[in-house]
């Protein structure tokens, strides 16, 4: 959280009442959404309602022991984040306080109150290399230089969007801290590596465009059947235990974005620890560098204060937009947006607002769409192109998708990955239901797959979808009469569908090879199953009994393709073997 404004305190008020995270103050001169410091300990809070001389504040920290009469200080500024080099490889709480700094400042493994810290290290010196020279004209958003932020990412220093711009007077290479001016303009404006931005306000851009490139995730069911675009939005709803978090982690690990912002919103502490421990040891599939070098983590676990849970989503998306402005493709994972909605509900009920559906505030739908609309494929204000893709997990109570958060989310997002408890119970992972899920980006993205993977990508996918659809219909009959009562060709279809499910749709996130599957391999597996299908039906037509077809030794090998490193050769051999063994039968 930004501290630069602490000395510009405008007016003091006094606490009138305290009820959990909601505090009211009397005689406080404040605007909506101003950040205030509450009580003797200076707990951070935000103004959320003003009525007469009573101001209502949501406090981002535990309020035990705080009482009426204690002072409230107004900073006169809305909640902002510090933007600049040092955000990658960092882990923040919901109001952008770095958790590692808090640990050393508090000297405790437990989170204490009233300790603040800037979001980026204000002292650290960075190696600045200007990309403009004296006499150049620069406008807001223009890149004036670069800083090697991590091994993977070159941080671009930009003229802040609220500057006027002008002619460069000085620009020199050297070591600077983020608060020192690196470029000076003729109108006296000084560009530093540090910007502040209010989290609830989207950063400006020139134009939002139709996304045409997929965010390749290395997950077969996602890339193969339900792709998301760079700049797209997706929702992953599912009951507990169906694999929301693992899917989000897989995306954070393997998606081919330049930058990943991972927001753990109201989720488990141990899960965040897993990310902190795992990511530095994993390699980015694109660059081979540690994954942390492109990742920013925001952890507001379920037991951390509820108001900060409400703000963590905004903190995350603002950071994502900042890297987008540099021309990067950013992917933001929010796990889980339901906890965010619940935080809104909790605050709303403490304000005694009239509730909408299931106790959620009436503005739930508006807030959700505002958030998802900040995603997109943009032309930035400096004319570059960048994207923010948003993937939100949803945790519907009882796994019931008809509840308000899921429904309001589905009205906005274009990709829907429905997680299914039944699949999870039989350890079919990822437990994404292929009959319910959809992606509205398919048509936009097909040209990319045709060009970069294989000409008949759309046709192969359609074939798989058809087989799976047919299986779903046949299963209903099987439930009544048993498999053996079906005609032989339908039995064979079921067999093919079984391989589609086991070899293609299932993917082991914990297997070192299978965890990431490039689109070429995804395609390869599909063609191998297709080969089995074609050859098997030929054999069937030639009069071979279906039992014999099912019994060929090569077919179960299909399930092993996923774990093969040298998959290309393996698939070719397997296709030949399957063909040979089936043709031997007639």
């Amino acid at each position: 959280m930004s501290q630069a404004t602490q000395d510009s305190v405008r007016e003091d008020g006094l606490i009138a009442s305290v009820s959990g995270p909601v505090v009211t103050a009397r005689d406080l001169d404040a605007r909506m959404n101003d950040v205030v410091y509450v009580g003797d300990e200076g707990l951070m809070g935000e103004v959320i309602e003003i009525e007469g001389d009573l101001t209502t504040i949501q406090v981002y920290e535990e309020t035990s022991g705080v009482g009426p009469g204690e002072p409230v200080e107004n900073t006169g500024e809305p909640l902002t984040v510090d933007l600049g080099p040092g955000m990658l490889d960092a882990i923040y709480d919901g109001v952008q306080r770095p958790l590692d700094v808090l640990e050393s400042k508090m000297n405790s493994a437990f989170l204490d109150r009233g300790v603040d810290a800037p979001g980026i290290d204000l002292e650290k010196k960075w190696e600045f290399e200007p990309t403009v020279s004296e006499g150049d004209e620069v406008a807001p958003g223009d890149v004036v230089g670069t800083v090697p932020e991590t091994v993977t990412i070159e941080h671009k220093v930009m003229v802040p969007p609220d500057f006027e711009g002008g002619e460069v007077v000085t620009a020199e290479a050297g070591e600077f801290s983020v608060t020192e001016a690196v470029v000076e303009l003729d109108n006296g404006e000084e560009v530093t590596m540090h910007q502040e931005w209010p989290v609830r306000q989207a950063r400006p851009s020139t134009e939002k465009k139709t996304p045409r490139e997929p965010l390749v995730s290395g997950q077969r069911i996602l890339d193969g059947l339900f792709p998301i675009a760079k700049g797209g939005t997706a929702a992953i709803p599912g009951p507990f235990g169906s694999g929301k978090t693992v899917t989000q982690h897989q995306l954070a690990k393997w998606a081919d974005a330049d930058i990943v912002v991972y927001v753990g919103c109201g989720e488990r502490g141990n899960e965040m620890t897993e990310v902190i421990e795992d990511f530095p040891e994993l390699d980015d599939p694109k660059t081979g560098n540690p994954l942390m070098a492109r990742t920013c983590l925001i952890a507001n676990t379920s037991n951390m204060p509820v108001a900060a849970r409400e703000s963590c989503i905004y903190t995350g998306i603002t950071i994502a937009e900042y890297y987008r402005d540099m021309g990067y493709d950013v992917a933001l994972m929010a796990d889980s947006t339901s906890r965010w909605a619940e935080a809104m509900r909790e605050i709303s009920s403490r304000l005694e607002e009239m509730p909408g559906e299931e106790g959620y505030p009436a503005y739930l739908a508006a807030r959700l769409s505002e958030f998802y609309e900040r995603a997109g494929y943009f032309t930035t204000i400096n004319g570059d192109e960048g994207s923010v893709s948003v993937i939100g997990a949803v945790s519907p109570p009882g796994g019931d998708f008809s509840e308000p958060v899921t429904q309001n989310t589905l009205r906005i997002v274009k990709t829907f990955w429905a997680l299914d408890a039944d699949l999870a119970e039989r350890r079919h992972f990822p437990a994404i239901n292929w009959n319910e899920s959809y992606s509205l980006y398919q048509d936009q993205l097909d040209p990319w797959f045709v060009e970069n993977v294989q000409d008949d990508w759309p046709e192969e996918r359609q074939w798989a979808v058809d087989v799976l659809d047919e299986e779903a219909e046949l299963q209903e009959i099987v439930q009544l009469v048993g498999k053996d009562a079906l005609p032989e060709d339908q039995q064979l279809t079921l067999e093919v569908a079984r391989y589609l499910r086991e070899a293609y749709l299932q993917q082991n996130a914990f297997h070192p090879t299978d965890t990431y599957c490039e689109p070429q391999k995804t395609y390869g597996i599909l063609t191998a199953i297709h080969t089995f299908n074609d050859e098997a039906f030929k054999a069937l037509e030639a009069g071979v009994p279906v039992e014999e077809i099912q019994a060929i030794e090569a077919a179960p090998q299909l399930n092993r393709i996923g774990v093969q490193e040298d998959w290309d050769a393996y698939i070719e051999d397997l296709k030949a073997e399957i063909t040979e063994q089936l043709r031997e039968l007639y």
Binding site: E342, Q479, K483
Partner: protein
């Protein structure tokens, strides 16, 4: 300390009093009734001139003349290593007739959140000796793994079995064995149930390394909101200050949530689903998230909360919110129970999220993950086929399907069913797993690494089964 005789309203567990000084939120209050009885409470809402107080011991006997005293501090738990072996009531007073407790320290029971950055990821396998847990839903140190049960099911026996048998298989050369302790928090359980636990603790000598908090069914409901916090504060002290590996058993979380609802209703709050307060997720998280490990500290807090699902319904808000916070769940199944399977754990809906990192070579055994995966898939398939058998009969099914049906039968009868007194090592558990898996043809074992199949698959198992 000022005393007030200014009570203006008494409603359910709540008392409203006028004050002329600022009172801190969450502060502790003592109320003395005209009969000389002292009751404790906590400030729920504090505004200028008026406070709302939640009384732990019930408001019976309080009238407008009762005197109210604000202690100027939030609720604290006196902690010391000497608590081990003691039995306390639901608000932390000793009830075992033992000596007075001399605390080392008094700790705030709300408990600050562990900084996620300071946590250590739990990956030390705890052997509970129960195959359905060790083999299929492995528990690790620092995990929170609830038991989802329902009325009339033997969840207490399972909890006791785990408390009795839980060990960490010793590593060679590791002689710095940290001690193991149990903190038991009972909320609203009956005297009989409490006796059952106490007798077992005494019989097995476990009481010496346990701290017991009991809020019984006829104790005030509001006190239940405090009991688990006292228990967890004690557990954190033992774990992170005294290096114990603490297993916290909380039963029954359903009663805790009922108490939350009661307070919410008395405060006339806008209710969430089924009348439970909208902040129940946050409230439960503040309990469950107190499990874990901290980098650089020896001890750990592992939680096994027990809850009874009203109407066996796991979409009820209590199990639902719990499942979203905890790292998995163990389901006790009514059908299995009536079939005489002990413990009646249904592995299919059960889950341990931390399992993957706690098992495998060097931790349990190299084949653990694959075996567990394969058994899940095979049992799920067998379960599905049972529906079909009811319609078409076994004869109409293929040989392959019949093998899966047999597998499901034997899985329940031999793997899950072991009795509450048997303690199986992880090797035994996995060996039984292989014995069952070997009744399926090798080509069906598509989730197991080929090398592992070579090593462990029992070639003759299939024929033996066929002859029988």
């Amino acid at each position: 300390m000022k005393e007030y005789q200014t009570i203006t309203e008494i409603s359910g567990p709540l008392v409203f009093a006028e004050v002329d000084e600022p009172i801190g939120y969450d502060e502790i209050v003592e109320i003395e009734t005209p009969q000389g009885e002292t009751k404790r409470g906590q400030v729920l809402e504090s505004s200028e001139g008026l406070v709302a107080i939640q009384v732990f011991e019930g408001t019976t006997g309080i009238d407008r003349n009762a005197s109210v005293k604000f202690l100027g501090e939030t609720l604290k738990m006196p902690v010391t290593e000497d608590l081990l072996g003691r039995v306390l009531d639901g608000s932390g007073q000793p009830i075992d007739g033992g000596p007075e407790i001399v605390p080392d320290e008094r700790r705030d029971i709300v408990g600050a959140a562990i900084n996620p950055y300071s946590r250590e990821y739990p990956e030390e396998f705890i052997q509970t000796g129960v195959s359905a847990i060790d083999g299929m839903n492995t528990l690790v140190r620092g995990q929170k793994l609830p038991i989802f049960s329902a009325s009339g099911l033997p969840h207490n026996n399972l909890a006791l079995q785990v408390a009795r048998q839980a060990t960490v298989p010793e590593e060679e050369g590791d002689d710095e064995e940290s001690e193991f302790a149990v903190v038991f928090g009972a909320m609203g359980i009956t005297q009989e149930e409490a006796n059952e636990f106490m007798e077992d603790f005494e019989r097995t000598g476990a009481l010496e390394r346990s701290v017991v908090f009991t809020n019984l069914a006829d104790d005030p409901a509001v006190e239940r909101t405090v009991t688990p916090r006292l228990a967890l504060t004690t557990a954190e002290y033992l774990a992170f200050d005294k290096d114990y590996h603490v297993l916290v058993i909380l039963t029954d979380m359903t009663n805790y949530c009922e108490a939350l609802r009661e307070i919410g209703a008395a405060r006339e709050e806008v209710p969430g689903r089924r009348g439970y307060p909208g902040y129940m997720y946050t409230d439960l998280a503040q309990l469950y998230e107190r499990a874990g490990r901290i980098e650089g500290r020896e001890g750990s807090v592992t939680q096994i909360p027990i809850l009874t699902m009203p109407g066996d319904d796991d979409t009820h808000p209590i199990p639902d919110l719990t499942g979203y916070i905890t790292e998995g769940q163990i389901y006790i199944d009514r059908d299995l129970n009536s079939q005489g399977i002990r413990p009646p754990i249904n592995p299919l809906p059960s889950l341990s999220r931390l399992m993957d990192d706690g098992i495998g070579e060097g931790l349990t055994r190299e084949d653990h993950a694959d075996v567990s995966d394969q058994m899940y898939a095979a049992y799920a398939e067998g379960e599905d086929l049972r529906d079909l058998v009811n319609i078409v009969g076994r004869e109409a099914l293929s040989e392959r399907d019949n093998k899966y049906l047999d597998f499901a039968e034997r899985f329940e009868a031999e793997f899950v069913n072991q009795g509450f007194d048997s303690n199986r090592s992880i090797d035994e558990t996995l060996d039984i797993g292989w014995e069952l898996l070997s009744t399926l043809p090798k080509s069906e074992l598509n989730r197991i690494d080929e090398e592992l199949i070579e090593e462990y698959y029992q070639e003759d198992a299939e024929t033996v089964e066929a002859e029988a």
